[in-house]
Amino acid sequence: MKAQRRRLGFNWRGLVLPLVFLLSVELIAMASTIERDAFAAPSAVLAAAIRTLHSGAALRATSETLITAGSGLLLGFVIGLIGGIPLGLFRRADQLMMVPLESLRPVPPVALIPLSLLIFGFGYAMEIAVVAFAVIGPIFLMTRSAIRGIEPQLMEVSQALGLGLIARVTKIVLPAILPRIFVAFRIALGIALVVAVTVEITANPLGLGYAMTIAQQSLQPDLMFALLLWIGLTGWSLNALLLRAESRLFGAAA
C-alpha cells in the first residue's frame, strides 16, 4: 500500500541532493569575490534565464533549433522508414545494401558539417541536412529489425489471403511495427536535438547552440548556463511528451 502510493506520487526525496548542490554553489559564489568565466551563481543563472526568456531572444533561438531539428528529424525519419521497409522484407535488398550502409554508418554525422556548408551555405538547409543524415541510419536499422521481428505467421497469412505488396505493407507490416517505430522516433528525436545544437555551436549562426556560443564568447557565463539548462529542459519535455503519448497509444505493447 505504502509502496504503491510512493510509485504513484512524486518522489520528493530525489530533489534533496540537487537542492543541496545548488545551495552550496550559491554559498561558494557569495564567499568568493573572484570573477570567473566558467562559473556563475545559481541566482545569477536564474536571473539571466528570466531576462533572456522575457526579451524573446531565447524563444526565437528555441524555435530556430526546433524547426531545424524537427525538419531534419522528419526528413530522415521518412527516408529511413521507406528505405528500411524493403531491407526488412526482402533478403536480397538487404544483402545488396549491406556494404554501402555499413560503410556509411561509422561516419559521424557532424563530420558532414563542412560538406553540408559547402553545398548549402549557412542557414536552415545545411543544418537540416546534417540532422537528417544523423537520423536516417538508426531509423533504417530499427525499421529493419522491427520488420524482422514481425510474427512470421502474419506474413504467411497475408500471403495466403493473397494481399499485394502495398496492401501487405499498409495492412500488416506498418501496424505490426508501429509501437517499435514510435520508440525509434523518440530515440531519433534525442539524436536530432544533439546534432542540431552541435551544428549550431560549431558552424551555423542559428538557434540555441549559437546563442550559447555567443554567451560564452562575450564572457556571460550566467547566460551560457541559463541556455544550457533551457536546452536540457526542452529536450526533457519533448521526450516526456512522446513517452506519455507512447504509453497512452500502445500501453504495455511498446
Binding site: Q153, L154, A160, L161, G162, L163, K171, I172, P175, A176
Partner: protein, 265 residues
C-alpha cells in the same frame, strides 16, 4: 463398392509431387486428387510432412518435382478459392484488429468494396457463432472463438477448398467436437472440399470421406482408407459404429508399424 469419389469431379490435385527443403527430402511422389465437396483427412506422425503437403496445396510452397493443379490450372501462388486455416490461431489473427476487422482483411484482399463489407462480415460472424463479438480484439476471445474467427476469415474468401492444418489441436475436447460438427455443417452447406491435417485418428475418421496415412521420411502416402460412415455424422452414434472402430484399428496399426519401422532403423 462405390468408386472412390475422387474420380467424380476433381477440384484440387497433386501429381507426382516431391519436395526438398534445403538438403532434406520432405515429400516423395505424392499423388492426390480431391473431389468437389470431399473431405480428405491426412494423418501421420509428426515430422512426416503433413503440414508441408498442405502448404504445397495452398501454393505457399513450391514442389521440387511434380505439380499442383486447381481445376486443371497449375497452382503457383495462393489463390482466393483455396483458403488456409492455420494451426496457431493466436498468431494468425491480427492482434490490433477486432473480430470484424480481421474478417474484413480477407474481403479487402479480394477487393470487396467498403460498403458491401459490413453485411458480409455480419453474416460470416453469425455463421461461426460469433454474433455480438464483432468489436472484440482477438486476445479478448477464447481459443475456440479465435479459431472460429479465423475460419470466418477463410470463409470470407468463399473458397472451394479449405485447407486446415491441425486446426483444433490446441482446443479442449468439448470445443473441439463442437467445431468438428460446425466444420462439417459449413462444408456441406457450401459444397466446399476440405483437406484436413490432424494427428488425431478419431478426428480424421469422424470428419473424412477418405483418410490418407502419410508415412516415412521423406513422406509418402502409405495408406488410403475410404470412410463409408453415413452423414450427417453424430459425435455419439458415429463413434460407436463398428465401422468406425474397425477403421480406427486399421489406421492405428498402420501408424504403429510406421513408428516401429522407424525405431528399428
Amino acid at each position: 463398392m462405390a468408386p472412390a469419389p475422387a474420380a467424380a469431379d476433381p477440384v484440387l490435385a497433386a501429381s507426382g509431387v516431391s519436395l526438398d527443403l534445403g538438403d532434406t527430402a520432405v515429400l516423395r511422389d505424392i499423388d492426390l486428387v480431391v473431389a468437389r465437396g470431399e473431405v480428405v483427412c491426412i494423418v501421420g506422425a509428426s515430422g512426416c510432412g503433413k503440414t508441408s503437403l498442405l502448404r504445397l496445396l495452398a501454393g505457399l510452397l513450391h514442389p521440387t518435382a511434380g505439380a499442383i493443379s486447381y481445376e486443371g490450372y497449375p497452382v503457383r501462388r495462393p489463390r482466393s478459392d483455396i483458403a488456409f486455416v492455420f494451426q496457431d490461431y493466436g498468431r494468425a489473427l491480427l492482434p490490433w484488429r477486432n473480430a470484424a476487422q480481421n474478417v474484413s482483411l480477407a474481403l479487402e484482399a479480394i477487393g470487396v468494396p467498403r460498403l458491401a463489407r459490413g453485411k458480409r462480415i455480419e453474416e460470416l460472424l453469425h455463421k461461426v457463432g460469433l454474433d455480438g463479438h464483432a468489436e472484440k480484439l482477438p486476445r479478448e476471445l477464447s481459443g475456440g472463438m479465435q479459431q472460429r474467427l479465423q475460419i470466418a476469415r477463410c470463409l470470407a474468401q468463399e473458397p472451394s477448398v479449405l485447407l486446415m492444418d491441425e486446426p483444433f489441436g490446441a482446443l479442449d475436447a468439448m470445443t473441439r467436437q463442437a467445431l468438428q460438427d460446425e466444420t462439417l455443417a459449413i462444408a456441406a452447406a457450401s459444397r466446399a472440399s476440405i483437406v484436413f491435417v490432424t494427428h488425431d485418428l478419431d478426428e480424421a475418421i469422424y470428419l473424412g470421406d477418405r483418410v490418407l496415412g502419410l508415412a516415412g521420411s521423406p513422406g509418402r502416402i502409405g495408406e488410403t482408407v475410404a470412410v463409408r460412415l453415413p452423414r450427417p455424422r453424430d459425435q455419439l452414434t458415429t463413434r460407436e459404429n463398428p465401422e468406425f472402430v474397425r477403421l480406427r484399428r486399421a489406421l492405428h496399426d498402420f501408424i504403429g508399424t510406421v513408428q516401429s519401422d522407424r525405431h528399428a532403423r
